[in-house]
């Protein structure tokens, strides 16, 4: 694999809510350009908090980054607002595909591009790009997003993020509550973007099978800490990964001891 420059790196990030509830206690991960990285972990492992931390969303939920550094594109972004990060090309798709229910699918997409201040023609061509990626959305574009299916809402949410032309797309549980076929379709589209446009992707997933099949590398979180880091191909075959999700007694020390050094 060619060596790419580091686009995003988290180093020993600790985070709390209300200065009291500890949510992260040492998350480290890197995403290089043109790479797909999976962030794996069970419920409550801290995946969502980690993603919120790197997207600048913690302050709005009374959360704080207590220690560690988050560097995106060579700059410390621990104190950046989400709007600044979006303009810099770091865009997140929230868990649970939150569309703007009363706006049409197309208006949802348009709002996503708003931050770039596109003119009419540029907006049109950006919309076409999303419709080419998710043809379902073209048929549904006049329907309020709240009345579309779960899969279509996830596509809308991803399309909306893509309208901002991210360099790093961050997705939180895109497979949640969706049929396997739909999940495959969404991952295929993401993979295509990654291959054709060099989009870097960081995706948090509980569904490790799907995530590891498409990712280049993966990090595993347990109780707010990075416990495993390695190439997706290596992690795919390992039984202790499964143990993490099922919660069988593979201690973090054992796991750390067998951690293959990251690529």
């Amino acid at each position: 694999m060619t060596i790419h420059e580091v686009l995003l790196s988290l180093d020993g990030v600790e985070a709390t809510y209300n200065h009291a509830i500890r949510a992260l206690s040492g998350v480290s991960l890197t995403v290089r350009t043109k790479e797909i990285v999976a962030l794996l972990g069970a419920n409550g492992a801290g995946k969502t908090t980690a993603l919120k931390a790197l997207s600048g969303l913690l302050p709005a939920e009374r959360g704080q980054i207590a220690a560690g550094s988050i560097v995106y594109d060579g700059e410390d972004v621990t104190r950046r607002s989400p709007a600044e990060l979006v303009r810099a090309g770091l865009v997140q798709v929230l868990e649970g595909r939150h569309c703007f229910r009363s706006l049409t699918v197309e208006d949802n997409l348009i709002v996503g591009g708003q931050v770039r201040g596109l003119d009419r023609a540029a907006l049109r061509s950006e919309l076409e790009r999303i419709y080419a990626l998710f043809p379902r959305l073209r048929d549904r574009r006049r329907i309020p997003a709240g009345l579309t299916s779960g899969g279509e809402q996830q596509m809308t949410a991803i399309g909306r993020a893509l309208m901002a032309r991210p360099r790093l797309l961050v997705l939180d549980e895109p497979s949640m509550g969706l049929a396997p076929m739909v999940v495959e379709g969404i991952f295929a589209a993401l993979k295509r973007l990654n291959r054709e446009e060099g989009l870097s992707i960081l995706v948090a997933e509980q569904n490790s099978t799907v995530a590891l099949r498409h990712a280049d590398r993966a990090s595993v979180l347990e109780t707010g800490r990075t416990v495993l880091d390695g190439s997706a191909a290596d992690l795919r075959d390992r039984d202790d990964i499964k143990a993490f999700y099922l919660g069988f007694g593979v201690g973090s020390s054992t796991a750390a001891a067998t951690t293959p050094t990251a690529a």
Partner: protein
């Protein structure tokens, strides 16, 4: 609240041969061309002018509550700020044209709205509603206590100077109505442009899902404050109309919590996040008490005195609001849409059969 708006959009989704534009055109012709010629003074003073002022206030609140999803119970405070600001401007800066006064009064109301909108950066829903009550009580109290605002008139009662614009006296019933109509038309047009603009979409995005709006780069705090400012500006202008075109003598007690609720009911009954809704709701709120009193007199005669009237008004209005919230949360606007669609289907069905 998002569910309501969703239903509204769904109901409006099938596009018919743009009846909206035809309807608006016809309404404007009637409002500007026909009514000034045929309406009586009573119709102007008791129905049309207060209807216009309240519709404008509803329009303003609808931006904040209907579009941006921020609940406010302080609307009549902003009306009061607009009214008293215009009064003081007219009194203390007599050289300034009245149209400029209105604009400045709106800006003063916007500034006050911005100030009381600050809690919205931290509070949501019910808590925000309670904090906007602070605006309601504080403003009313200030106008009562600080004599300067009312030129030291007892209990803050002020009588505004007769309305005239650019040397043209408009102090007849029809003149005041036409003036109000002109202001309401201009503001409505501006609001329509606003809600169709990217900013309008940002307001709805904020209402539907604040965090999702934040992740796609909408400056949520700025948009919230903007909603408060624009909404208060419009409600302030509505206050100017209320004082200068409708009552001509106002007191702080007239801008009480009841009036704030009245404006909120206009928005709920008319239809959240709908421009027509504000007008439909205001029409209902203005006409309904008059109808009720006529009806009561006809049915009960002397038994139906003003006490009974007020009581029955409250009861019926309360029932109406509950009914609307349950049966048609998207308000009169959605109700009319549905009726229109049904009528259109029926008509086009006929056509097909005969033709």
């Amino acid at each position: 609240m998002t569910d309501l708006a969703l239903e509204k959009t769904a109901a409006a989704a099938p596009h018919r041969a743009s009846p909206a534009l035809l309807g608006i055109g016809a309404l404007l012709i009637v409002a500007y061309g026909v009514l000034p010629l045929v309406a009586s003074e009573y119709l102007f003073d008791a129905i049309l002018t207060p209807f216009l002022a309240l519709a404008l206030a509803g329009l303003g609140l609808n931006i904040l509550t209907g579009y941006a999803g921020q609940v406010s119970l302080g609307s009549s405070a902003f009306m009061a700020v607009g009214a008293y600001a215009a009064y003081n401007l007219a009194l203390r800066l007599p050289g300034v044209p009245f149209l400029v006064d209105i604009l400045l009064a709106g800006l003063v109301a916007a500034a006050v709205g911005l100030l009381f909108g600050l809690p919205s950066l931290r509070l949501r829903g019910f808590y925000l509603a309670v904090s906007t009550l602070a605006a309601q009580f504080f403003v009313q109290w200030v106008f009562n206590k600080v004599g300067w605002f009312s030129n030291n008139s007892p209990s803050g009662i002020v009588t505004v100077p007769p309305l005239s614009v650019a040397g043209l006296p408009l102090d007849s019933s029809a003149g005041r109505y036409l003036f109000a109509l002109g202001v309401v038309t201009a503001v409505t047009l501006a609001v329509w442009r606003l809600v169709e603009s990217p900013t309008g979409r940002a307001l709805v995005a904020l209402r539907d899902h604040e965090t999702a709006a934040r992740v796609i780069g909408i400056p949520v705090l700025r948009v919230k404050l903007l909603a408060f400012a624009v909404s208060s500006f419009i409600i302030g202008v509505a206050g100017v109309l209320w004082a200068f075109a409708y009552l001509r003598t106002v007191e702080p007690a007239g801008f009480n919590l009841d009036r704030s609720f009245q404006i909120l009911f206009i928005v709920i009954i008319g239809g959240l996040a709908s421009l027509r809704g504000a007008f439909l709701g205001a029409a209902l709120i203005v006409v309904f008490p008059l109808l009720l009193s006529r009806l009561g007199e006809a049915l009960l005669g002397g038994l139906f005195d003003s006490g009974v009237l007020e009581m029955s008004q409250r009861i019926v209005l309360g029932l109406l609001i509950v009914t609307f919230l349950i049966a048609e949360p998207a308000g009169l606007a959605a109700l009319l849409d549905r009726l229109w669609n049904r009528a259109w289907n029926w008509i086009s069905g006929r056509f097909r059969r005969t033709g």
